[in-house]
Chain length 197, copies 4
DNA sequence: AATGAATGAGTCTTCATTCAT
DNA sequence: GATGAATGAAGACTCATTCAT
């Protein structure tokens, strides 16, 4: 808002979040690609071209949001990972937290994840860095369980991806067999059972 | 080609397949939405508007292919399901067949699956019918295992979705921990272990 | 206009000319770059995008017109060059013809020539091919005069460029010292005098 | 830089020159219109809007530079014109000086001349005033030669324009027949020969 | 039956300029 | 005095679809 003063990196970031927050309903309704820069600008209450002071490109909006949201989930997962609890319990808590986050954000991450396939490799790489951090975190817990002898020796990263993916079955079905929580719990139970010695 | 003689539904279908086969490489390279009708027509060696004799709309192409490919996988899965083998073995075979099919088709189904999010609800419903058939087939085998007492009593449909989803972790990662076969095998093993009593 | 029938190369060319003819007044008034594709389309009585069936790019319009007009001048010059007249006379006639053409076309070529500086090298090369043909034609007549001993031995191409350039002084001044014809005649006279032995 | 103290007209002018000097490479590379105010400001190491303290409009930059450079050439030509040498010799020297200047400035004036066509009439008039001064200077020398009886009686202004224009043939060809100096010398020789009695 | 010319809506993006700080 | 955030207007171009031949 102040006119002659350069925006700090922080201002930029928070403004970016505001812009997206203002436009998120459009994107959820119609998809990202189908939402035009004009509409986003209108929703954000700014001129079409001011948008370009915050995002150099339409795709940057997508990258920004995915990075941002993945980071939030990762941060929350880190907190859980640090607790003094058995691996299985921490994994359960992380998945629940993840589910809660997804639902609170209307599955935004899942929806946008689909659109991210179109991004240029360079942008995909940036996104993947964030995803990897989350996967690694989960994988570390699994590895811990393996080392402690409470899990079978499997490839921890592979297993982590499998677990995280379970969320999709729970969230992204048009033929639910219960609440998302119930579906997820059952999936996690099968997974943990599968790791048990 | 035959003039004056209306095309049978079968001719139509096989022509549709030909058209898509001719254009599939474009779609794999650039994505479906990024491939224009003109390019598809050119690849298929026909005029832009002749395309509309086979697909009333661009989106119909997407729906057709997804339906078609899902149907093929389902048919092959049905054959395996009918074998006189223990449920666990049949599930393993189905997943392997599915993986082979995906790889033979360059993950087309996964790629297109992302694009399908944009289709209008009506089209999505049509696609889902096919998906359900496949899920139900897998679920039936799981249920059989449960009934025979070799699997724990879980919601079979939920479990089926979980198993099918495992393919994604194996296929769709930019940080593989082995061959797709190995990753899938491990995932299936964890799953089956998880169902074991 | 016919809808399902491919345009012959000739149709294309004549349609291109029509389009340009319809829009030339806009371009003369405001300059080429300042004239938008929409305006050109409107002037030509067609949809914005139909324009792109005739010119793949806005710049192509520029290239087309310059090539076309240069070709016309060259053709007329060829006719004069073939006459059985002394070199000096033929040169005078060519310059007069060129002047007439320029005036009949409102100096279009001069105006557009300025804009052509912005074209990408590839397009400039295409244009230059045409310009060279014209320059070479004039140079040949000069060389003829040199060979016949009625002109001093100068570099014919250099001299040709000089002569052709004289048109600019005559046409493109905001402080004329007579009619364009008079100014040109005097310039040509100085030039020919300068070549005389 | 000095705060509170208004800039003298001279400071303004020298600051303008500095700004342009800093940006000239951009303009030579991409053309004037293709260079944005932001880029010019960056090159000049100042804020976008500070530019507007020195040039009220982007076009003013163009006008300023053309005026400035034309003035420099004129000043140098004046020095030569004042020498006690035969008209023909002075004309030769002026043309050489002009060529040197052009080459030292990478033909900037020619390039910008093309862009100047777009300026509004008012600005063009300002530029033309400067051009006229230069033309008049050259014309005066020619007139002198005529009065002294060493040149044929031609319209001096017309001839001056013709001579100055020769530079273009020498400088602005993609198919040179020698060094620019050689081409120019030959052109000037033809011209002077053409004036000789 | 098959084709391609025609279209209008819509896309992202750029830019010179202003104005509040 | 100097700055950069904000903007509105505009621009080239693409595309799915229709329709006359």
């Amino acid at each position: 808002m102040p006119k002659g003063i350069p925006l700090t990196e922080e201002d930029l970031s928070s403004r970016r979040r505001e812009i997206f927050a203002a436009a998120v309903h459009l994107i959820l309704e119609k998809g990202f690609q189908e939402t035009s820069m004009r509409q986003i600008a209108e929703a954000a209450g700014m001129g079409k071209s001011s948008l370009y002071d915050y995002f150099r490109t339409k795709d940057e909006i997508l990258v920004f949001v995915i990075e941002e949201e993945t980071l939030i989930v990762t941060r929350q997962a880190e907190a859980i990972a640090a607790l003094a609890l058995p691996p299985a319990v921490r994994l359960r808590q992380i998945m629940r937290m993840h589910l809660d986050f997804m639902q609170a954000n209307k599955n935004l991450l899942v929806r946008l994840g689909g659109e991210a396939q179109r991004l240029k490799p360079e942008s995909q790489a940036r996104i993947n860095q964030r995803r990897y951090a989350y996967q690694d975190l989960v994988a570390a817990i699994i590895q811990e369980g393996i080392d402690q002898g409470c899990f079978r020796p499997v490839n921890a990263l592979n297993a982590a991806r499998l677990l995280i993916n379970s969320l999709l079955s729970a969230l992204y079905t048009s033929r639910p067999t219960g609440s998302a929580e119930e579906m997820l719990d059952e999936a996690v139970e099968i997974f943990l059972h599968g790791l048990r010695i």
